[in-house]
C-alpha cells in the first residue's frame, strides 16, 4: 500500500471542501493540503444548487432578522450560538466569493443583487441567475488552482477514517483509475462529503450523494445527529426529480392544484397574495416542509393531478413573462422544456415534492469539530445544527463557506499542534481497511445484487420515512433496513477489474447508504413528535418538553444504532409558533 | 511558454479574409465574363488604365492583391497541416514568401502605371 503524508487531508471537493482548502492555503501556505474527492471537484453536487446563498447585506435587513428566520425555520432545533455566528459571517464569505470572481447577479448600480426565498422575511439571497451553486463551485475550484500547496487527488474514493489513540490521523482511499489503495497520513482531517439524498428513490441529489463521509465517521464512532430530518423540496420535476429552484416562487411563481386553486392558503400560509406580487414568508414563500406537507394533504383530498410519474400539482409561472424568466430563471426554463416538455413561459409545470437535503449528519459544534480530536466535518455531511429541523433554502450554500473556513482554521491549528502521527499503528489500521476491500472484491457466490438491495432500501424509506410518518410505517422500514444490512453480506462483485471498477464503488456506497438509512428510520421512530420536516401522523404536535433535543445515533456494529439525546443550545430565542400567515405578523 | 509570432501575419489574414469575402466573388464573376471573351466595359484598356492611374485605384488594387495572398498563405498553412503535411516551417516560409514577393511586385507594377 502506498502512503501519502500530508498536514491536512480534506475528503470531499464540493463547496465545503474547496472553501476549507483555500482557507488553509491562504493562511498557511507551508501546510500541505491533500484534497481528496471521488469525483473531479467541478462534478460535486454543489453545482446543482440553483437558487442562491443567504447573507445580510442590504440596509433594510439585519442579522437579527436572519437569525430569527433561521431559528424559526428550523423549528427551534437549531443551536443558536451556531446560527448567531453564521449570520454574522455570512455576508463576509459571500463578498469573499465575489472577490474571487463569482458572477453574482447585479443591481443596475453594480452592487450585488438579492432575491426573496422561502421562509426568509427579507430579500437576502445572493444569486447568480439560477445557477448559483454552479458558479460558487466553479469559482472555488478555479481559485484553488492558484495555490501550489493544495494537492488534489481527483477520483480517489475514500473508504475509511484512520483513528489511532482516539485521534483521527488519516484516511484510506482507492485511486479509482488503478484500484490502488492509498493511506493518507494526516495531522488532521476534514470530512466534506456532502449529503445522502440517494438513500431515497426520488431525489434532487446526484449519484455522488451517498453519504460516504458520514457513514465513515459513524463507523469510526462519531454520532450522527438529527438524521431523521430529511427535507422534501416542494417543486421537483416528476419524471426525474430534477429541482426547479425555490427562486421560481421567489420570482413570483405560484402553486395550484388540479382546479387551479392556490391551495396553500388552506394550510395556514394564507391569505392569498396577489399574482406576481409574492409576499415574503407567506403562501408560496412559506418554508419547504410546510409546502411539501400541504401537497400531501391535497393528495389525500384528491386535488392533485395524476401523472405517469405520480401525483402532481402545478407550478405556474406563466404570468412572469418571457424576459423575466430568461433573465432570472434560464436554467429552470431549459430544464422544464428538456425534461418535461413544458415551457414555463406559456404553460404550468407539473411538479411534486422531492427529497432534497439532509439536515442531519456528523455531529459537530460551532467550531466544526466532531467529538473526535483531529476530525472536522463541514457541509451537508455535517450537522452543526444550523438548520435544525428544517433548513431554509439558501442557508446551506452559505454554510459551506462559513463553516468550511471555520473547519479549516481549526484543522490547521490542530495540525500545527505538534501531534505526532503514530505511523505504524496508522499503517496497521490501513492494512486492515485494505483487507476489507479485498475481501469484498474476492467474495463470490452471493445471490444479492447491488441494484436490488438499493432499490429495496429506497422504497422502504420512502414508504416508511417520507413526508409523513407513523409508528407502523417506521417500524416496517426499520425492520427492512436491518434485514438489508444483513443481506448485504450476500452481494458479489461481477466486475473484477482494478481499473475504474464502479461495481466496487457502488457496493461501498450501498453499505454507507444502508448505515445512514438505518439512522434515519430509527431516529424517526424514536422521535415521537412532529417538528419541521419530521411529521408524524400519530404525534402531530411539537413536543418541546421531551424532544427539544438533538438525536444522536451511535454505530453498534450489526445491531441497530444506539440513540441518545443532546440538549439544543438556546441563547435568545425561546421556542415559539412558526407563523407563515400574512406577512409574518 | 513563448508567445507566438503568429499575430504578425494573423492581422493580415483576418483583414484579407474579410476583404476577399466582399470583393473576390464579384471580381471572379467579372473576369469570368472575360474568360468567355465578353469582358465588360470596365476591363477595356482605357477604362482600367484610367482606374489604375488614379492613386485610389492603385491603392485598391494593391490592397486586394496583397491581402488575398496573405490570407491564402496563412489559411493554407493550417489546411495543409490538416491534410497531413507536417513541414510547417517550410510551408510558412514558402507561403509568406510568395505573399511578400507578390506584395512588392504589386506595388512595383502599380507605380509603373
Amino acid at each position: 500500500m502506498e502512503t501519502i503524508k500530508t498536514d491536512v487531508a480534506i475528503v470531499g471537493a464540493g463547496g465545503a471542501g474547496l472553501r476549507a482548502a483555500i482557507a488553509i492555503a491562504e493562511a498557511r501556505p507551508d501546510l500541505k493540503v491533500a484534497l481528496i474527492s471521488k469525483v473531479y471537484p467541478m462534478r460535486s453536487h454543489t453545482c446543482a444548487a440553483e437558487g442562491g446563498a443567504a447573507g445580510v447585506i442590504k440596509p433594510d435587513d439585519s442579522l437579527e432578522l436572519h437569525f430569527n428566520d433561521t431559528v424559526g425555520g428550523g423549528d427551534w432545533l437549531c443551536d443558536q450560538d451556531v446560527v448567531d455566528y453564521f449570520v454574522r459571517e455570512a455576508a463576509k464569505e459571500l463578498t469573499q466569493l465575489e472577490h474571487w470572481g463569482c458572477p453574482w447577479s447585479r443591481e443596475p448600480d453594480g452592487s450585488v443583487g438579492v432575491r426573496p426565498f422561502g421562509g426568509m422575511k427579507i430579500k437576502r439571497t445572493w444569486f447568480a441567475a439560477d445557477k448559483s451553486g454552479f458558479h460558487i463551485l466553479h469559482t472555488l475550484f478555479q481559485t484553488t488552482l492558484k495555490y501550489p500547496s493544495i494537492e488534489r487527488f481527483d477520483e480517489y474514493f475514500t473508504t475509511d477514517l484512520l483513528v489511532v489513540d482516539g485521534r483521527c490521523q488519516g484516511v484510506v482511499a482507492i485511486e479509482m483509475s488503478s484500484g490502488r489503495i492509498f493511506q493518507f497520513q494526516a495531522k488532521s482531517v476534514i470530512v466534506a462529503t456532502g449529503g445522502a439524498g440517494r438513500i431515497f428513490p426520488f431525489t434532487t441529489n446526484g449519484a455522488v450523494k451517498t453519504g460516504d463521509g458520514s457513514a465513515m465517521a459513524y463507523r469510526a464512532g462519531i454520532p450522527l445527529k438529527d438524521m431523521e430530518f430529511v427535507q422534501y423540496h416542494p417543486t421537483g420535476l416528476p419524471s426525474t426529480g430534477i429541482l426547479l429552484t425555490e427562486g421560481c416562487r421567489g420570482e413570483g411563481g405560484v402553486l395550484r392544484n388540479k382546479d387551479g386553486y392556490r391551495y396553500l392558503q388552506d394550510y395556514g400560509m394564507g391569505p392569498e397574495t396577489p399574482l406576481g406580487k409574492p409576499v415574503l414568508k407567506t403562501m408560496e414563500l412559506g418554508p419547504r416542509d410546510r409546502l411539501s406537507q400541504a401537497f400531501w394533504h391535497e393528495q389525500q383530498k384528491g386535488n392533485t393531478i395524476p401523472t405517469k410519474f405520480g401525483d402532481c400539482v402545478y407550478l405556474d409561472m406563466t404570468h412572469l413573462g418571457e424576459k423575466h424568466i430568461d433573465e432570472r430563471l434560464p436554467l429552470v426554463r431549459d430544464l422544464s422544456i428538456s425534461y418535461s416538455g413544458v415551457d414555463p413561459v406559456t404553460e404550468q409545470v407539473p411538479i411534486r415534492p422531492v427529497v432534497h437535503y439532509c439536515m442531519g449528519g456528523i455531529h459537530t459544534n460551532i467550531e466544526a469539530e466532531t467529538p473526535m480530536p483531529g476530525l472536522y466535518a463541514v457541509g451537508e455531511c455535517a450537522c452543526g445544527s444550523l438548520n435544525g429541523a428544517n433548513r431554509l433554502g439558501s442557508n446551506s450554500l452559505t454554510e459551506l463557506l462559513v463553516f468550511g473556513k471555520k473547519a479549516a482554521q481549526n484543522a490547521m491549528e490542530f495540525a500545527g499542534g505538534g501531534n505526532k502521527t503514530n505511523e505504524s499503528a496508522v499503517s496497521e489500521q490501513a492494512e486492515q481497511a485494505q483487507k476489507r476491500i479485498t475481501e469484498l472484491f474476492d467474495k463470490s457466490g452471493g445471490g444479492e445484487t447491488i441494484s436490488g438491495l438499493r432499490k429495496e432500501m429506497m422504497d422502504s424509506l420512502e414508504k416508511g420515512a417520507g413526508i409523513y410518518r407513523t409508528e407502523q410505517t417506521l417500524k416496517e422500514s426499520c425492520a427492512t433496513i436491518s434485514q438489508l444490512r444483513k443481506r448485504y453480506a450476500g452481494i458479489e462483485l461481477h466486475d473484477k477489474s482494478n481499473v475504474y471498477n464502479t461495481d466496487l464503488f457502488q457496493a461501498l456506497e450501498l453499505r454507507n447508504m444502508l448505515d445512514l438509512a438505518q439512522t434515519v428510520a430509527e431516529g424517526a421512530l424514536a422521535r415521537k413528535e412532529s417538528r419541521g420536516s419530521h411529521q408524524r401522523l400519530d404525534f402531530v404536535d411539537r413536543d418541546d418538553e421531551n424532544f427539544l433535543k438533538h438525536t444522536l445515533a451511535y454505530h453498534q456494529g450489526e445491531e441497530t444504532p444506539r440513540i441518545e439525546y443532546l440538549d439544543v443550545i438556546i441563547t435568545k430565542s425561546q421556542p415559539g409558533v412558526r407563523d407563515y400567515s400574512g406577512g409574518g405578523k | 511558454m513563448a508567445k507566438s509570432n503568429k499575430p504578425l501575419v494573423w492581422g493580415l489574414f483576418a483583414a484579407g479574409g474579410t476583404l476577399t469575402a466582399f470583393v473576390t466573388p464579384v471580381l471572379v464573376y467579372v473576369t469570368l465574363m472575360a474568360a468567355y471573351g465578353d469582358p465588360p466595359a470596365a476591363l477595356d484598356y482605357e477604362n482600367i488604365q484610367a482606374f489604375a492611374a488614379n492613386w485610389l485605384g492603385k491603392l485598391a488594387l494593391f490592397v486586394v492583391i496583397s491581402l488575398s495572398l496573405w490570407f491564402a498563405a496563412h489559411r493554407l498553412r493550417t489546411a495543409l497541416h490538416g491534410l497531413g503535411l507536417r513541414a510547417d516551417t517550410a510551408i510558412a516560409v514558402a507561403g509568406y514568401g510568395i505573399s511578400a514577393v507578390g506584395t512588392v511586385l504589386a506595388a512595383y507594377y502599380l507605380v509603373q502605371i
Binding site: V39, Y40, M42, R43, H45, C47, A48, K92, T95, Q96, H99, G101, P103, W104, S105, R106, E107, G110, S111, K131, F134, H135, T143, L145, D154, S177, G206, A207, V208, S239, T240, I242, L331, S338, I450, S451, L493, H494, D495, S497, N498, V499, Y500, T502, D503, Q506 | M1, A2, K3, S4, N5, K6, P7, L8, W10, G11, A14, T78, H81, G82
Partner: protein, 249 residues
C-alpha cells in the same frame, strides 16, 4: 411498461482483459421520457454491472457524462432516447481522449491545461473585504457571463479537429475560461494569461473550425471566445513589439 426498445452498442475496454476496445450490444426497454443515461443506467443495474461510466447530476450541469453518442459528443443526460428509436446507437467514450476503461476517458490533459491558463481573478491590488464588493454593472457582467457557463464536459475537445491533430493545443474550454476572466471588469490578469494563451499552443492552434460551439451543450460558444482572443492577442502583440507599454493588463 416500456414504450420503446433501444439497441445500445457500447464500447467496452478493460485494460486488464482486452488488448483493445470492442463493442457490446445491449437491448434496453426504455420509457419515452428517458435520456440515454437512463438507458445506460438500466444496463448497469439490470443487465451488466461491469459497465463503467461517469455520471452524477442527471441535469446537464455537472459535466460528467460527456460521451460519443452516435458519433457526436453529447451529454448522455441530455440526449433523449426518443431521438434514436429504431436504430442501433453507438456509445463510445469522448473522442480525442485516451480510454481508461469502457466509457471513462482520461482527462488529465484538460485538468493540467486548465490550470495553466490561470482561471481565477488576478488583481494588482486586492480590495479589503471590509470595503465590500467590487462594483460590476449588469452590462459588465453580461460581457463575460456566457463564458462562465462552461461545465467542463469536454464535448468541445472531442469535436475539435485541431485538438485531434495537435494534442498540445490548449483547446476550446480552457482557453474560453481564460477569456472569461480576461473579459471580467474586475480582472487585471490578461497579460499573465497571455504567456500561455498567446503561445503557439494557445489560441493560435485554433483554426476556427467552430465544431466546439456546434456541439457545446451549454451554448458557451468557445469559438467566439477564441477568435476574440486572437484579436486582442494580435493587438497586444503589436503594442508590445512597437514598444508601446507592452505589459498592458
Amino acid at each position: 411498461m416500456s414504450d420503446l426498445q433501444l439497441e445500445l452498442e457500447i464500447l467496452r475496454y478493460d485494460p486488464e482483459q482486452d488488448q483493445e476496445p470492442r463493442f457490446q450490444t445491449y437491448s434496453v426497454p426504455c420509457q419515452e421520457e428517458w435520456v440515454v443515461l437512463d438507458a445506460i443506467n438500466y444496463v448497469k443495474d439490470h443487465i451488466d454491472s461491469t459497465l463503467s461510466y461517469r455520471w452524477s447530476c442527471h441535469m446537464a450541469v455537472c459535466g460528467s457524462c460527456g460521451m460519443m453518442i452516435d458519433g457526436e459528443p453529447k451529454l448522455a443526460c441530455k440526449a433523449f432516447v426518443r431521438d434514436y428509436v429504431n436504430k442501433t446507437v453507438r456509445i463510445e467514450p469522448l473522442a480525442n481522449f485516451p480510454i481508461e476503461r469502457d466509457l471513462v476517458s482520461v482527462l488529465d490533459d484538460f485538468m493540467n491545461k486548465l490550470r495553466r491558463v490561470k482561471p481565477y481573478l488576478i488583481r494588482k491590488e486586492e480590495k479589503p473585504l471590509s470595503e465590500g464588493e467590487y462594483r460590476q454593472t449588469p452590462a459588465e457582467l453580461n460581457k463575460y457571463k456566457q463564458y462562465t457557463l462552461c461545465i467542463n464536459c469536454l464535448c468541445c475537445y472531442a469535436a475539435c479537429p485541431q485538438y485531434a491533430l495537435i494534442p498540445e493545443f490548449i483547446g476550446p474550454a480552457a482557453l474560453t475560461m481564460a477569456h472569461r476572466y480576461n473579459q471580467d471588469s474586475r480582472d487585471q490578469g490578461r497579460a499573465q494569461r497571455e504567456e500561455e494563451t498567446a503561445s503557439h499552443e494557445g489560441v493560435w492552434d485554433c483554426a476556427f473550425a467552430d465544431a466546439c460551439s456546434l456541439v457545446c451543450p451549454k451554448h458557451v460558444d468557445p469559438a467566439s471566445a477564441l477568435q476574440q482572443m486572437k484579436i486582442t492577442s494580435t493587438v497586444d502583440w503589436y503594442l508590445e513589439h512597437l514598444g508601446m507599454g507592452g505589459k498592458k493588463s
